[in-house]
């Protein structure tokens, strides 16, 4: 089982390296542990995240791809309604079909073995562009996004600069 998982992760790593989607870099921190990856995602254009690069770690369960990985932004985290203050990303593709903590997701949006790391990262990129306001992971950020949009955007832009060491 575990070697099947490792093979699959290795194949995904190869695909992502040979044909990386725009603005995404991902791979294992070390090939000695295929269950621990690190990814970089570029902030989508036309959003306050534009110009930024966000680092996240992905941890795969032993039964991947039956169960989804977890994804957590590292460093300063990301100010976003769907990202917990500790950096953990909360989107439907990271939730297994049987478990719907938010009671609004369609089964087709949730995790299944036909999804992939690439699809997760692309979903996270579009999540950055379009926050999902129902059942937020970061209540403060969601409130600011809803009620004080310019303050929200200013805060995100500051964090983008800080993330790049500027």
């Amino acid at each position: 089982m575990s070697s099947m998982t490792q093979n699959r992760l290795f194949r995904e790593y190869k695909t992502l390296s040979e044909n990386p989607p725009d603005g995404i870099t991902a791979g294992p921190v070390s090939e000695d542990d295929m269950f621990h990856w690190e990814a970089l995602i570029q902030g989508p254009e036309g959003t306050p995240y534009e110009g930024g690069v966000f680092a996240a770690e992905l941890k795969f369960p032993k039964d991947y791809p039956l169960s989804p990985p977890t994804m957590k932004f590292v460093g300063g985290g990301v100010w976003h309604p769907n990202v917990y203050p500790n950096g953990t990303v909360c989107i439907s593709i990271l939730h297994p079909p049987g478990d719907d903590p938010n009671h609004y997701e369609h089964a087709s949006e949730r995790w299944s073995p036909i999804q992939s790391v690439e699809k997760i990262l692309i979903s996270v990129m579009s999540m950055l562009a379009e926050p999902n306001d129902e059942s937020p992971a970061n209540v403060e950020a969601a409130k600011m996004w809803r009620e004080r949009r310019s303050e929200y955007e200013k805060k995100v832009r500051e964090e983008v600069r800080k993330g790049l060491g500027l």
Binding site: S17, G27, S30, Q42, G51, V53, L166
Partner: protein
């Protein structure tokens, strides 16, 4: 004949007592000497093995590595003895200020592995991926074209991934700086 046995044993007991006395005295003396100067331990070649220090340090993160090194150096690198000492609540002695731990050098000529990037919060990407040097030297370099991303060689693959990651961060930083300079003018 049975009466003779105790009388025969008295001299041997005495010998044992005398020998023990000298052995114990030698032990204490040695302890006292190294306790005052530490030079005795050094000249006898008690080099501290960093792996042992690490091992104890992981078990008792609250202890100072200097104290651990001092204890290991004095007991000749006996991890069990140092651990026992800590567990029995005797604690470790504070080394004298003059104590310079002699740390064993790794046997190979290969430089020590760089410490993995720390995962502390609030860290920017330049710090996280050790890019401070590249920020300076590569400030006017043009972003390289997308390097081909795969190799049959494991080390090469790792290197390519790291390069793509570094390039992505440095390019974003460059772009942001240019944009800000443009905005300021």
């Amino acid at each position: 004949m049975p009466d003779d046995e105790p009388s025969l044993n008295i001299p041997s007991l005495l010998t044992l007592a005398v020998v023990s006395f000298f052995v114990i005295r030698w032990f204490f003396k040695r302890d006292g000497e190294s306790g005052t100067s530490g030079s005795r331990g050094r000249t006898r070649g008690n080099i501290v093995d960093p792996a042992q220090v690490e091992q104890i340090s992981q078990m008792f993160p609250q202890l100072s590595t200097r104290d651990i090194m001092w204890d290991l150096q004095r007991n000749g690198g006996n991890v069990a003895a140092t651990t026992e000492r800590i567990l029995t609540g005797r604690g470790l002695d504070t080394p004298p200020p003059s104590f310079q731990p002699l740390v064993a050098i790794p046997p190979t000529g290969v430089p020590a592995q760089p410490a993995p990037a720390t995962k502390s919060d609030g860290q920017d990407l330049i710090t996280r991926y050790n890019l401070a040097g590249k920020v300076v030297e590569g400030s006017e370099a043009e972003p390289a074209g997308k390097p081909s991303g795969w190799s049959q060689n494991k080390e090469e693959r790792q290197r390519l991934l790291q390069k793509r990651r570094d390039d992505m961060i440095l390019a974003a930083r460059r772009k942001m700086m240019q944009k800000e300079q443009g905005g300021a003018q």
